[in-house]
């Protein structure tokens, strides 16, 4: 498994897409920090970039990589290697490269300009989002055979999680406005990794607004240690569940 992962990492490094992604993140982070004298304000802008770019790149890159490596995977399947370790090896290779790209592209600027708790949480949720969207990408790739269709599914997933889902939440809030919705909203937020990541950061930067009437409810939940453990737990589920599902499917898949 590790050997496969290592090979995947080498392969990705050669393709230069990842390097471009890293440089792009570096450029954005440094320019955001450089343009604004107050680093906490740059973190806010960086957050909105990360919440859009990181999931998008993670899911598209992983899907395309999977399809491009399809022949190699077929070759590996012919060898006496278990299918579990083939898929997991591929996943770890892709995930590790993406995380390294993020660490270099965003982690270094944060460590340099804003080595604060907010910066750390931002980086942490970026990593969690990378891992979960890579595993969603693998899920999308194993359920569809066709490359174009697979990428389409991946894109739809990204669009769903970053825009449509929040619109649905807003619609639900609108429809049931007269009811106490705090628990329901926390539940709904758990069903979207991007929302979870965003809330983790919000608790650091928009604390004054969140201390308002209803914000206090969320603050009480997510701000306490139980809420932190809950958030991290759900994030892990968002990484593990799609991955395990794809492993299951891949094991029985007729290639």
């Amino acid at each position: 498994m590790l050997k496969i992962a290592k090979y995947v990492v080498y392969d990705i490094l050669r393709s230069k897409v990842l390097i471009a992604y890293t440089l792009f993140l570096l450029l954005i982070s440094f320019s955001l920090f450089g343009l604004e004298s107050d680093p906490s304000k740059s973190l806010v802008s960086l957050m909105s970039v990360i919440m859009i770019i990181v999931p998008l790149v993670s899911i598209i890159f992983s899907t395309t990589y999977f399809y491009n490596a399809y022949e190699f995977i077929e070759l590996l399947v012919a060898q006496p290697i278990s299918r579990n370790s083939i898929l997991l090896g591929e996943y770890f290779g892709v995930a590790v490269s993406l995380v390294v790209g993020l660490l270099v592209g965003v982690g270094i600027p944060i460590a340099y300009y804003a080595p604060t708790a907010t910066g750390f949480v931002l980086l942490l949720s970026g990593i969690a989002l990378t891992l979960s969207f890579a595993s969603l990408a693998f899920f999308a790739s194993v359920v569809t055979r066709d490359k174009a269709k697979g990428i389409g599914v991946a894109l739809m997933m990204w669009f769903y999680f970053s825009v449509i889902y929040d619109a649905l939440v807003l619609a639900v809030l609108f429809a049931f406005n007269d009811y106490p919705l705090d628990k329901a909203v926390i539940g709904m937020a758990s069903l979207n990794p991007i929302d979870l990541g965003r809330i983790m950061i919000l608790l650091k930067i928009d604390i004054s607004a969140l201390m308002g009437f209803t914000g206090a409810v969320y603050k009480q939940f997510f701000g306490k240690s139980f809420g932190m453990i809950y958030t991290i737990g759900v994030m892990l589920l968002w990484i593990l569940l799609p991955l395990l599902a794809s492993v299951r499917i891949f094991r029985k898949k007729n290639l």
Binding site: D38, S40, K41, V44, M47, S48, M51, I52, S162, V163, D166, A167, V169, L170, L173, F174, N177, L181, D182, V185, A189, I194, D195, R198, I199, L202, D206, I207, S208, A209, L210, M211, G212, F213, T214, G215, A216, Y218
Partner: protein, 410 residues
């Protein structure tokens, strides 16, 4: 020449001969109440270091009481500590402690009643229910005192400096902690409140009602339970005050309810859940204030009108402004908004397109408070941008037509 001057001074001193009564634990006079009793009007009582019991000592003649190295005047939790019923009383440098607690009677460390020209300087009040309670008085000076509410009172506390039906009072340089309301005014006019620090009080840092013509300068109100709330008053002037760290689900930097024709200039609002809330407040002037890192900068209810906001800085607030109505009849001009995205083609340092401080999302939250969870999501950005480009829902008149491009230096 110097000799004659000395002679003159000596003669003067001899002429205005008032006795000085020295009070110390080992002296002939060692009881605080007795010392007051035995003094003639306009005498001075010099209190040496020590602890003196004082169960509601009443001062009913003009006296000066000076403490040396903060002698402790102990109320022993039985009643009030000192009550002033005469004019021209000065209390200087006393350490007043331990009033009784109670909800039927407002026990105070120093009570000043129907007294004029009384002064309280540099006194420490500790473990008191009410700190300094002034009623039906005028021309009182309360300066450089420290008052700390009773620890043993739990959540039942009195006010730090309490004014009731007073006129022309000066409250300066006091520090007020752990009370219910730091400074409380009712029916008090023409007062000046400067350089005070009111912090960590369980309700309001400053609270007043029906108290016109008062001036508040360079005070700091920090980390109070619900910030500062002022009501039903006209002609208030607030200059250079700081309102900060008032956090909570009902905390305001400054809550204005039915405050009219007042001037709020040069204040700093920092780290409050809501910096300024206005309800039924009209003809207000907000100038040169800084709104920094608040949840909301301004919350202006639709029943406020003819208010002007000029040359204020809005930086790092989650929401610059919110309102609950569509018709807004207030003027915003020459403010700096850090969220302004317009341009300045003619380089006159004033933005060419108006800035609308109320975002669509803040209107949504106003109606659906739970939606605050979507703060800073991509969808919210999209909605705000769409609304900004093609306005349909937002109050059209709530805008700054002349936003300045760079932060206003103070």
């Amino acid at each position: 020449m110097r000799f004659y001057f000395f002679l003159f001074l000596t003669a003067l001193t001899a002429l205005c001969r008032a006795n000085v009564i020295t009070l110390c634990p080992s002296c002939e006079i060692n009881d605080f109440a007795k010392a007051i009793q035995s003094a003639a009007p306009f005498d001075t009582i010099l209190v040496k270091p020590g602890t003196y019991a004082s169960i509601n000592t009443i001062i009913n003649k003009p006296l000066t009481v000076i403490g040396e190295h903060y002698p402790i005047i102990d109320g022993q939790q039985k009643d009030e500590v000192i009550t002033v019923l005469a004019d021209h009383v000065s209390l200087i440098g006393l350490d007043i402690r331990n009033t009784n607690l109670g909800s039927l009677k407002d026990y105070a460390g120093i009570r000043i009643f129907k007294s004029h020209y009384t002064q309280v300087f540099r006194c420490h009040l500790r473990n008191v229910y009410f700190g300094i309670y002034i009623s039906d008085a005028s021309h009182t000076t309360v300066k450089d005192n420290v008052t700390i509410g009773a620890d043993y009172a739990g959540s039942d506390r009195g006010n730090g400096i309490h004014l009731w039906k007073c006129d022309s009072i000066l409250i300066e340089g006091n520090r007020i902690n752990n009370h219910r309301d730091g400074i409380y005014f009712e029916f008090s006019k023409h007062c000046t409140i400067t350089n005070n620090l009111s912090a960590n009080n369980i309700r309001y840092g400053l609270h007043f009602m029906f108290s016109d013509y008062n001036t508040y300068i360079r005070n700091t109100f920090r980390n109070n339970g619900t910030g500062v709330a002022v009501m039903y008053t006209d002609y208030v002037q607030m200059y250079d005050n700081v309102f900060e760290d008032n956090w909570g689900d009902a905390a305001y930097g400054l809550l204005l309810k039915d405050i009219n024709s007042s001037i709020i200039v040069g204040n700093t609002f920092r780290n409050n859940t809501i910096a300024v809330t206005m309800e039924g407040s009209s003809r207000m002037r907000f100038e040169n204030n800084d709104f920094i890192k608040n949840g909301y900068g301004l919350k202006i209810m639709a029943n406020c009108e003819s208010d002007t906001f000029r040359r204020n800085n809005f930086t790092g607030n989650t929401f610059d402004a919110a309102t609950n109505g569509v018709l807004v009849n207030n003027l915003f001009a020459y403010n700096y908004w850090d969220k302004y995205e317009g341009y300045d083609l003619n380089r006159d340092k004033i933005g060419d397109v108006p800035y609308k401080p109320v975002s669509l999302y803040s209107m949504i939250i106003e109606q659906m408070p739970y939606a605050v969870i979507l703060l800073r999501s991509f969808l919210v950005d999209l909605l705000d941008r769409a609304e900004k480009n093609i306005p349909g829902i937002m109050p059209d008149t709530f805008q700054d037509a002349t936003p300045v491009m760079t932060i206003i230096k103070r």
